[in-house]
């Protein structure tokens, strides 16, 4: 890695940080330097679930000897802490999903007028999975039934989440065997909080199993529901061209940034921003037009569906304001630094909080109400127009930006491999089997000011594609790659290994596929399931030559995501220090025990080079276990199985997917 990088690997960000330092503006980067993480809490050794403590379980032989006032050993404490992180992460995604489900219901019943069903085909696909009759029925009736079924998933007390059956059978069997098939989303979160409260569940393995059940409720529940409803309401993404980084802001237009995670209001803002009267209003304030930009995962939502440019991920939020060009930044929920309210005071930028769940002292609050969505969106855009006039000359005024191609939904990835008639995952499976593609990595998670921000994402992205590993990215991982200029098809031609390059060239894709926001990690789950179904690789998610990596994670949501991948059968590697690092026992459970039970695991590894080596090792071992051709760069696709008539007669009986070697 480049040792010269100080705070951010994003050159534009680095310039803004420097400019900020010159102007005595403090950001998360300085705070991260000043405020070292608490070494006890960092490794999971601090217990504060009751007021006899907080207890610090430290010292020599802490694993064996240390205990809290109640007698809880280190392994219990570390496991409880982790399970609470999972619960919080699951709650976050799922509460977002719940709002989407109610929006869908309100749209279907006509209770709200500003939203309609946009993607009927997706609605039908979802209805079919849920066992809802759709042929010959009014679209809104189907949508209503879909919404109601989804709502059941949150409050269900017994039984299973509907979407669990989308997983390969063998994967489901593992969940049943180990008792981690989630019942209802809220129930699992609630039980997680109960079991981790003082004096309840003390067996680390038992605690962690419930952690996995809660995480699965996130992945196959909250996240997947959020993804699908958003697709139904606003369209399933298809490739779009857009731009990324700070240069997306325009000097002569009203710059309005949508930041946070929820798509509904942002969609409405996108819609009203092109209304002639709104544009006229902007012009009346001296601007040439209205320029929307995104930040964090709301950015990903509107980038995927409308090509709205993104200013980047989590650590860019203060820096965006420091360009001096942002007239209004709306925020909703999750990953909003309260610091933006403070720093916005140094500029003309107005921060508008919009969620009834989230307010920031010092920010303006315009509460989003889906019944008045359009009206509220107009009000916000007008605020931005009004504020354009207050734009001052100071600010870093960075102009760097990069083109990106995004919009890779599960549906489009299937389509792009064969078109309307031949859509399938056969070519991807073939490419992996033949060794053109060595494996697949999901590069996801946050960006983090505790490391040179986005730097590990960039390092791993370039190294992995050089090694013929196809990357699917989400959330701030996508933002990190986008602001580095990696999300272009040219990236494949110039930097991918020879096999991956051939595949990218045949299809016309970047070597890194932007799948959407962090809730859209659910798309990776369904893609893996489809690959298992297609045949020729593993017949479950476990055993696939794939790895999940969140190199710069910081959010509890990331932990929930990592754990649902592990429980689904994916080895997961997280960067940074381990939040359970104090307990060898918990570490062992999350790596060895989970691997044995689920073919998934969760590692914490701060060294980027070791992360890369571990990922490639997992991939190569999976290839070996599947008896695939050994990966050798540049060597693939020579031997052919030639068919005579006898072999053709046996096709039906053999019914084995053809091996593309």
């Amino acid at each position: 890695m480049d040792k010269h990088i100080m705070k951010s690997a994003n050159e534009a960000a680095e310039k803004i940080i420097e400019w900020g330092e010159e102007h005595k503006l403090e950001t998360c980067f300085e705070r991260a330097e000043k405020l070292k993480p608490c070494p006890i809490g960092e490794t999971g050794a601090c217990c504060k679930v009751c007021h006899m403590g907080p207890c610090r379980l430290v010292g020599k032989n802490a694993e064996e000897e240390a205990m809290g006032v109640c007698g809880a050993p280190l392994s219990t404490v570390a496991a409880r802490n982790l399970v609470r992180m999972i619960a919080a992460g699951t709650a976050a995604h799922s509460d977002h999903a719940r709002d989407m489900a109610f929006t869908l219901l309100a749209a279907a019943t006509g209770e709200v007028k500003d939203f309609q069903i946009t993607d009927v085909r997706k609605l039908y696909r979802v209805a079919e999975i849920l066992g809802i009759e759709f042929e010959g029925r009014p679209v809104n009736d189907v949508a209503k039934d879909v919404a109601l079924k989804f709502i059941e998933d949150f409050g269900r007390q017994k039984g299973e989440l509907y979407y669990l059956k989308r997983a390969p059978k063998k994967t489901q069997e593992r969940w049943v065997k180990w008792g981690v098939a989630p019942r209802g989303i809220d129930r699992e979160v609630c039980e997680a909080m109960h079991r981790t409260s003082v004096g309840v569940d003390h067996d680390p393995d038992h605690l962690l199993l419930h952690g996995l059940r809660t995480a699965l409720a996130d992945g196959w529940g909250g996240c997947m529901i959020a993804t699908d409803i958003t697709d139904i309401l606003f369209g399933t993404p298809r490739p779009v061209k857009a731009e990324a980084s700070f240069g997306i802001f325009k000097e002569d237009e009203v710059n309005l940034v949508v930041h946070g995670h929820e798509p509904s209001l942002a969609e409405m803002i996108v819609d009203v921003a092109s209304e002639p009267e709104i544009i006229a209003y902007a012009k009346s304030k001296g601007a040439k037009g209205i320029n929307l930009g995104g930040m964090c995962c709301t950015a990903n939502e509107v980038l995927m569906r409308h090509g709205i440019p993104t200013a980047g991920g989590f650590t860019n939020q203060e820096l965006g304001i420091m360009t001096g060009l942002v007239d209004v930044m709306t925020v909703d929920v999750q990953c909003i630094m309260p610091a933006i309210a403070e720093i916005s005071k140094k500029f003309h930028t107005k921060i508008i909080t919009t969620s009834e769940k989230a307010k920031i002292p010092g920010a303006m609050h315009i509460e989003y109400d889906e019944h008045r969505a359009r009206e509220i969106a107009r009000e916000i855009v007008k605020h931005a127009c009004d504020n354009y006039q207050n734009r001052k000359t100071e600010g870093s005024h960075i102009t760097d930006k990069f083109p990106v191609v995004a919009g890779f939904s599960h549906e489009y990835i299937e389509y792009m491999q064969g078109g309307r008639w031949r859509a399938s995952f056969r070519p991807l499976n073939d490419a992996i089997m033949a060794g053109r593609i060595r494996g697949v990595v999901g590069l996801a998670g946050c960006d983090n000011p505790r490391v040179p921000s986005t730097g590990i994402h960039r390092y791993l992205a370039t190294e992995l594609i050089k090694n013929d590993v196809l990357i699917v990215s989400t959330g701030c991982g996508s933002a990190a790659c986008g602001t580095a200029g990696y999300l272009t098809p040219e990236m494949a031609l110039e930097h991918a290994g020879p096999g991956l390059r051939e595949v990218c060239e045949a299809i016309g894709i970047p070597p890194i596929l932007h799948l959407g926001a962090c809730v859209d990690n659910s798309r990776i789950l369904t893609i893996l399931s489809a690959m298992a179904e297609e045949g020729g690789l593993s017949d479950e998610i476990g055993g696939m030559p794939g790895v999940g990596i969140a190199p710069e994670w910081m959010s509890e949501k990331a932990v929930a995501i990592g754990c649902y991948f592990a429980a689904s059968g994916v080895p997961v590697i997280f960067g940074g220090e381990s939040p359970v690092g104090a307990s060898h026992e918990v570490t062992r459970i999350m790596t060895e025990v989970w691997w044995e039970r689920f073919k998934g695991s969760m590692h914490f590894e701060p060294d980027p080079e070791k992360m890369l080596a571990m990922a490639l090792d997992y991939i190569d071992k999976a290839r070996e276990a599947l008896k695939l051709k050994k990966y050798e760069p540049g060597k693939f696709g020579a031997e052919r199985v030639l068919m005579d008539m006898a072999a053709r007669r046996e096709l039906e009986r053999a019914a084995k997917p053809h091996i593309g070697l």
Binding site: P239, V240, K241, P403, V405, Y415, M416, Q417, G418, G419, R420, W421, R422, A423, S424, R426, P427, L428, N429, D430, A431, A434, R436, T488, P489, E490, E502, V503, E505, A506, I507, G508, I509, G637, R640, V641, L642, M643, D644, M645, A646, A647, R648, R649, L651, E652, R653, H658, G660
Partner: protein, 732 residues
């Protein structure tokens, strides 16, 4: 790079869809939207559109609807830089192109512009390929004599290269379609200039002069999954998987490619058919849409055919006897006209015969060819006519007397497959010609023998260990031995007469068609030959001896469950297994309950006419309307694909005169209608059977198309002639 291909395909689709739209609008304006259209002799409307969408295009107005499907498949071209993905879009464009081409060609048919006639030479291209041709080829598609299909688009750099490529394809048994042009020339014209015989008989079929005509080949391919695969119209995924897995077609693009060629190629790639080009094109190697590469290149024309075959994943085993001319089934249909004939034998011109006789191993010498006759060489060199007796003596540890006739029938194919040699008839009514060209290439009488020794051992490996051939050329020898042969023929026929279903304990299956119709199983009994007409019980028995794990397996009869309908436990047990569970039980002698399934290459269809209390039989190739209101082609569509359809059944022609023909339903007395030509073809045997059945004048009572083509008139006829079916117990 692939982007160039995708861009070209997307542009090509736009052009053709626009052209089709213009033509449809014109046709609607001139002919009206209700103007009906169908391609000649097909039950599948516009087959590609029908298979993919399930929408039957019956009128010009329907074409407009279908064109709407094509329009939905159009996309923007990828941009120069920072492009969006293009593969799915290019494949969509390919399908849009096929839809548009199908409509364009249909409208050209309406205006009498198809099949295309070359204004200079007057040559008429094949145009649309009929269902009948497809079904006629049925058995060849499955028995390995036609393992693959090539579509050559464009023109080779020279006429000689064109000839070489086509000859190589012929020798590899590949059926070749020609279309398109490059630089104003085409392989069709190149072959014509070289005097190469074109057409179905030689397996080189010019479809038309434009790239668009390639669609006819794809229309032909897609009907394989409709006819043989039993795939439902509109189940496009099933169709395309079938095409990819079972239809071993590929394209050779000779000369430079334009947008239309690329977009048509993209359509073919949808079906899993790769393209090999002889120019420096971008390649697409990743697999998964096609089984192997999608687009590849090969500049060396002596290697391009082999490359294409490998890229398609096709295994071809060719056995060539040591003779100085080309050899293979592609030459089987070649004609030798009188003026091209160097020498001929038999055919009522000279005495001749051909006879296979079983010997003990020590009695003959393998590979020996003996020619008996005074000055035979000199007489041969002179040309003209000559007597000819071919005695083939075979020996082998697993050889059986019964196999003599099976082996003897192959003499015809063995000779015919040599380029410049022609054979027809059999036994003592055979007729052989050797062309001037073949004689010039060095063919002598000895080669006639070498062909037999090599090919008999190849075809009957593991039955035949030794083959010795004696060729007689003196008239008195030929006549003497012909008498001996005649005695053997007679004895054989007698033996055949005693071979009945009841007399044997084992039937044979035929699974050859499972390469195309995966759940179909033919059960061949001594009295019921395969529905294709090509395999009888002895063939099955011999084939099993040759290859115990091959397409013909013994089926022990087991216990007789129903003597009238012909149901056996052994047959049922076997069927369940061999059909993959698709068929549970079979009655051999009835059409009414669990009758035999069909693959699609049946010679005839038997169909119940309830109001006549009987059945009609219509043969492949008959194009008239039948009394049940469907032509053969439409009827055939309801019978194939390995499904049991009570009341409908595919059969071989010779089964009509078997004692077991619908014996459970009342036998031949149930037949109320047959095409006139079919009646004439089977008249001799039929009259014998009718006499046995006690209705000597039955054939005269059976209606044909000269009497009626609808059921009302049929009934009038039957009652006026007093057809026995009317008096029989009700069929239903």
């Amino acid at each position: 790079m692939s982007k160039l291909i995708a861009s070209a395909a997307i542009r090509g689709a736009h052009k053709l869809v626009a052209q089709a739209e213009e033509m449809v609008e014109k046709a609607i304006a001139e002919k009206g939207k209700d103007f009906a259209f169908e391609f000649p002799d097909t039950a599948y409307y516009l087959p590609m559109i029908y298979a993919m969408t399930g929408f039957p295009v019956k009128t010009v107005g329907d074409m407009k609807v279908a064109l709407g499907f094509a329009k939905e498949l159009l996309h923007d071209e990828p941009e120069e830089n920072i492009w969006k993905p293009y593969l799915g879009e290019a494949l969509d464009s390919g399908m849009a192109t096929l839809f548009a081409e199908e409509i364009i060609l249909a409208i050209k048919y309406i205006y009498g512009l198809e099949p295309y006639k070359d204004p200079e030479t007057g040559y008429v291209y094949n145009g649309f390929i009929t269902d009948t041709i497809q079904r006629n080829l049925g058995i060849q598609l499955v028995d390995g004599t036609m393992p693959g299909f090539a579509a050559i688009i464009g023109a080779a750099p020279t006429d000689d290269i064109a000839v070489n490529i086509c000859r190589e394809l012929q020798e590899k048994n590949i059926l070749t379609f020609l279309s398109g042009q490059s630089n104003g020339d085409s392989v069709t014209k190149q072959l014509q200039r070289k005097g190469i015989e074109l057409g179905w008989d030689t397996r080189i079929v010019p479809l038309g002069p434009d790239t668009e005509h390639t669609l006819y080949a794809l229309d032909w391919a897609i009907r394989a999954s409709l006819i043989f695969g039993g795939k439902k119209p509109g189940d496009f995924k099933d169709h395309l998987k079938y095409q990819k897995d079972r239809v071993f077609a590929f394209a050779l693009a000779l000369g430079p490619l334009d947008d239309i060629k690329w977009s048509t190629g993209a359509g073919a790639i949808n079906m899993g058919f790769p393209a090999i080009c002889d120019t420096d094109v971008p390649v697409i190697h990743p697999t998964g849409v096609c089984t192997y590469e999608e687009v590849d290149k090969e500049f060396d024309h002596s290697k391009i055919v082999q490359k294409a075959i490998e890229v398609r994943g096709l295994k071809i085993i060719v056995e060539k006897p040591p003779i100085p001319v080309a050899y293979g089934p592609a030459f089987e249909g070649e004609r030798i006209r009188k003026e091209d004939t160097f020498i001929e034998f038999g055919g009522q011109r000279t005495p001749a015969f051909e006879w296979v006789r079983m010997r003990e191993l020590e009695e003959i010498e393998d590979n020996k060819v003996i020619i008996v006759g005074d000055n035979w060489q000199e007489r041969y060199e002179k040309g003209g006519q000559m007597p000819l007796g071919i005695l083939i003596e075979v020996a082998g540890r697993k050889m059986q007397k019964d196999f003599e006739s099976v082996i003897e029938r192959k003499i015809h194919h063995n000779i015919n497959e040599a380029q410049g040699l022609w054979h027809m008839g059999q036994r003592d009514i055979n007729w052989i010609r050797i062309s001037n060209a073949a004689q010039k290439d060095g063919i002598t009488l000895e080669h006639l023998g070498h062909i037999q020794t090599a090919m008999m051992k190849h075809r009957f490996r593991s039955i035949v260990d030794k083959v010795q051939v004696t060729i007689y050329t003196d008239e008195q020898d030929v006549i003497r031995l012909r008498d001996e042969a005649r005695a053997a023929y007679k004895e054989r026929d007698h033996r055949l007469g005693t071979l009945t279903d009841d007399a044997v304990d084992t039937f044979y299956s035929c699974l050859l068609c499972q390469s195309f119709a995966p759940s179909h199983v033919c059960v061949i009994t001594p009295e019921r030959l395969g529905l294709c007409g090509a395999y009888n019980w002895l063939d099955g028995k011999a084939a099993y001896e040759i290859d115990p794990t091959g397409g013909n397996q013994p089926v022990p009869k087991g216990e007789l469950l129903d003597a009238k309908y012909g149901r056996y436990t052994g047959v049922d047990d076997y069927l369940k297994k061999a059909s993959g569970g698709a068929v549970e039980t079979l009655n051999l002698y009835t059409i009414m309950e669990n009758p035999m399934t069909s693959c699609g290459c049946f010679e005839c269809i038997v169909a119940i006419i309830p109001e006549a209390n009987g059945v009609m039989i219509v043969n492949r190739g008959a194009t008239m309307m039948t009394p049940i209101g469907m032509k053969f082609s439409t009827l055939a569509g309801t019978v194939g694909g390995g499904a049991q359809t009570p009341g409908f059944m595919g059969i071989g022609v010779n089964f009509i005169t078997s004692k077991k023909f619908l014996s459970g339903d009342g036998g031949i007395k149930r037949i109320v209608w047959m095409p006139k030509a079919l009646k004439e073809r089977i008249a001799e045997d039929f009259k014998k059977r009718a006499e046995e059945a006690g209705v000597p004048d039955l054939l005269d009572k059976i209606a044909d198309e000269t009497i009626c083509e609808d059921s009302e008139k049929l009934l009038e006829h039957l009652s006026s002639v007093g057809h026995p079916a009317l008096e029989m117990e009700p069929m239903i």
